[in-house]
């Protein structure tokens, strides 16, 4: 398609890598903080985790809007159909989870009686009232969605490396700043 660029825009790249860093920080933080005994540090880690989650959600919305108005580059011509389908589905799921996981975390927090206050300054309204059973359910949803995200991220990284080192195409480099198409 002649209208599609051969690389991601600078904004798309910036959003991709910024979110990669934030998500890779939020994941282990979420794991460590839930295992800790209650302490001031634990409260701080919870807050940081929630602030990261809210930020990821907002960036994901921004990114979807950007993508809707700035088409992604086409996949390499020689890719088999199943790989194209897998790429399409996994990217759609990644976007979905980048929205669904912060949402489930926010709802869980509300149900457990803890409001989310972004950076300790901007209160995000509670959509749910305090409800312990619902909070536990949302907790489970948050955790299982996160496992799904972790699995998808592994596949995402493995596929990018396979494209770069095995197929030797530009699927990885077009998401890297500074590189030109070979």
């Amino acid at each position: 398609m002649s209208t599609r660029p051969d690389r991601y825009t600078g904004i798309a790249q910036a959003l991709h890598w910024l979110m990669a860093v934030l998500i890779l920080a939020a994941l282990p933080l979420g794991w460590v903080m839930t295992e800790m005994d209650l302490s001031p540090l634990k409260l701080r880690l919870y807050s940081w985790h929630k602030w990261l989650g809210v930020t990821v959600f907002m960036l994901a919305v921004l990114r979807l809007a950007w993508r809707a108005t700035h088409p992604a580059p086409a996949l390499p011509a020689g890719m088999p159909g199943w790989q194209r389908a897998a790429a399409g589905i996994s990217h759609a799921l990644l976007y979905l989870l980048m929205l669904a996981i912060p949402l489930s975390g926010w709802l869980m927090s509300s149900a457990k009686g803890f409001q989310t206050v972004w950076f300790g300054v901007l209160p995000i309204p509670d959509l749910l009232g305090r409800d312990e059973a619902l909070g536990e359910w949302l907790n489970a949803a948050h955790v299982w969605l996160t496992y799904a995200l972790a699995a998808l991220l592994l596949a995402h990284v493995a596929a990018a490396l396979k494209h770069h080192f095995v197929d030797r195409d530009d699927v990885l480099t077009r998401m890297l700043p500074g590189h030109r198409k070979p």
Binding site: L38, P40, V117, G120
Partner: protein
């Protein structure tokens, strides 16, 4: 140039503080009453309450100077917002309920401020410390009783609530907003034990 402002003179007509017939409230309906607080953790307000408390009261809105009130809070009955927090705050660093199971307040004076507003004062004992509280309260009559409501800011660090690693007010703020609401009623009209006031047919 000095602008001259003409302020309208407001005639402040306060409703009479005394209800139609003088009544002394001596009963507190604990199941409708509440001793609650809001702590602030990392900027997040977290609601909590004490589920068990008892109040001794003699309050006639027409004669506030004779009012007497005392409150005892069973500190182990705290709900600080989560199971984990509840287990923590009964411990040594917080309320240390094994050594100090009860918080007490005893009124020494009640002053009518106007309308339905009063100023209550008296000593509070908490975690082995004592201090004078002066706090505004309101009384809202309703039917044969009414509701006494009020609150104050407790500076937890001054009372040793949250010591050691919890002494950092950046994580859990020093100021804890305490709020209470006591639903009061006149003494039961009949001496029947536990009887409710007889309703008019």
């Amino acid at each position: 140039m000095i602008a001259r402002l003409t302020l309208p003179v407001l005639a402040l007509l306060l409703p009479s503080a005394a209800p139609a017939q003088a009544a002394e409230y001596t009963r507190v309906l604990t199941e409708q009453s509440r001793v609650a607080f809001v702590s602030r953790q990392m900027g997040v307000p977290v609601e909590g309450q004490f589920r068990r408390f008892s109040v001794q009261l003699a309050f006639d809105p027409a004669r506030p100077e004779t009012a007497r009130a005392s409150l005892e809070i069973d500190l182990a009955s705290i709900d600080a917002g989560s199971k984990e927090a509840n287990e923590e705050v009964v411990g040594r660093n917080w309320f240390n309920v094994r050594q100090f199971p009860t918080a007490r307040f005893q009124s020494t004076g009640l002053r009518h401020l106007g309308g339905n507003r009063y100023e209550l004062r008296g000593p509070m004992t908490l975690k082995g410390r004592s201090g004078e509280l002066v706090l505004p309260i309101t009384f809202t009559p309703a039917g044969a009783g009414g509701a006494i409501e009020g609150g104050f800011v407790l500076r937890r660090l001054a009372w040793g609530i949250g010591e050691g690693p919890w002494g950092d007010p950046d994580t859990v703020a020093d100021e804890v907003q305490v709020k209470f609401r006591f639903v009061v009623a006149e003494a039961a009209a009949t001496p029947a034990a536990g009887g409710k006031p007889a309703r008019k047919p």
